[in-house]
Symmetry: C2
Subunit: 145 residues, 2 copies
C-alpha cells in the first residue's frame, strides 16, 4: 500500500483495489476472481488493468503468482502488509492432477531441495512460483476401484 509511494509508483484506485483484495483474503486468487472482487471496491476496473496492476506489483516484489497447470495463475501477497498477515511467508503449492485441489506446503518442507539445487547446480529455486503436481491422498483412495 505505502510500498507504492516508497517506490515512486503511482497510487491509483485500480492498484489500491487489487492490494485491498489480496490483503483481505487468505486464499490464492486467480486473475478472474481478483477482477470480480476489485470490481466491488473500484467499479469499472477493467480486466486488462488488473493484469497490468498485478504485473507491476509483481515487479515490485509486493506479490507473487503461481502457475497452476492447465488453468489460471493464482496470486497472493509476498510481503506482510501493515497489520494484515495474509501474506504467508514462504510456501509451495501442491496440485492434485485428479481433483484439481491445491494444497499448501510449508516452505520448510522444500528447503532441502532448494539447498540441494543451489549446491549442485547453482540453481536458485523459487518454490512458490509453480505448483507441484501429483495425486492427493483422497484421490489415491478413490483410485482403488
Amino acid at each position: 500500500v505505502a510500498v507504492l509511494r516508497e517506490r515512486h509508483e503511482r497510487v491509483t484506485p485500480a492498484r489500491r483495489a487489487v492490494l485491498d483484495v489480496l490483503a483481505g483474503t487468505d486464499h490464492h486468487l486467480n486473475a478472474d476472481e481478483i477482477v470480480a472482487l476489485a470490481e466491488v471496491r473500484a467499479p469499472g476496473v477493467h480486466r486488462a488493468t488488473v493484469y497490468r496492476a498485478l504485473a507491476t506489483l509483481g515487479d515490485l516484489g509486493v506479490l507473487t503468482h503461481t502457475h497452476v497447470a492447465g488453468s489460471a495463475a493464482v496470486y497472493h501477497l509476498s510481503v506482510p502488509v501493515s497489520g494484515v498477515e495474509a501474506a504467508v511467508p514462504v510456501h509451495g503449492h501442491l496440485q492434485c492432477t485428479v481433483c484439481g485441489a491445491v494444497i499448501d506446503v510449508p516452505g520448510t518442507t522444500l528447503m532441502p531441495l532448494v539447498l540441494t539445487l543451489a549446491t549442485d547446480l547453482g540453481f536458485q529455486l523459487q518454490p512458490e512460483h509453480a505448483a507441484l503436481l501429483g495425486v492427493c491422498g483422497d484421490c489415491q483412495s478413490d483410485a482403488r476401484h
Copy 2:
C-alpha cells in the same frame, strides 16, 4: 509402438508419427514442434490430431508432458522404446524465469522431497509433471549489475 497393440488401441499413421518423432529425439518437444516433425512422416496430420494422440498416449502411460510456465507444454516418452533409449527414466525440469532455459534434473535429486510429501501429507508427487521455477546460475551472474 507395439504398446498400442498390446493395449487394444488402434495404430494409425498419426499416432505412429508422434511416437517416431518422440523416439527420434533426446529433446523435450512442445506440441508445435511435434506437429511440424510429424508432418514430415505423415503429411497432412492435423494439429488437433496430434493433441489427441498425445492425450491418448499420455493416458496409456507411454509419454509424459511437463507444463512450462507461460508457454507450451513439452512432451517426452516415459517408457523405453524398442531399442531406443531416448526415454530418460525419471527426471524433473528446472526452468529459469529470466532466460527461459529448461534444465533437466535427475530423479534422484527429487526423491527426498517425494518421500517427504508422501509421508507427511500422503501426497504422491509426480516430479516430472511441472517445471520448477527459479533462476539459473548464468542469470544470477548477470544480475550483479
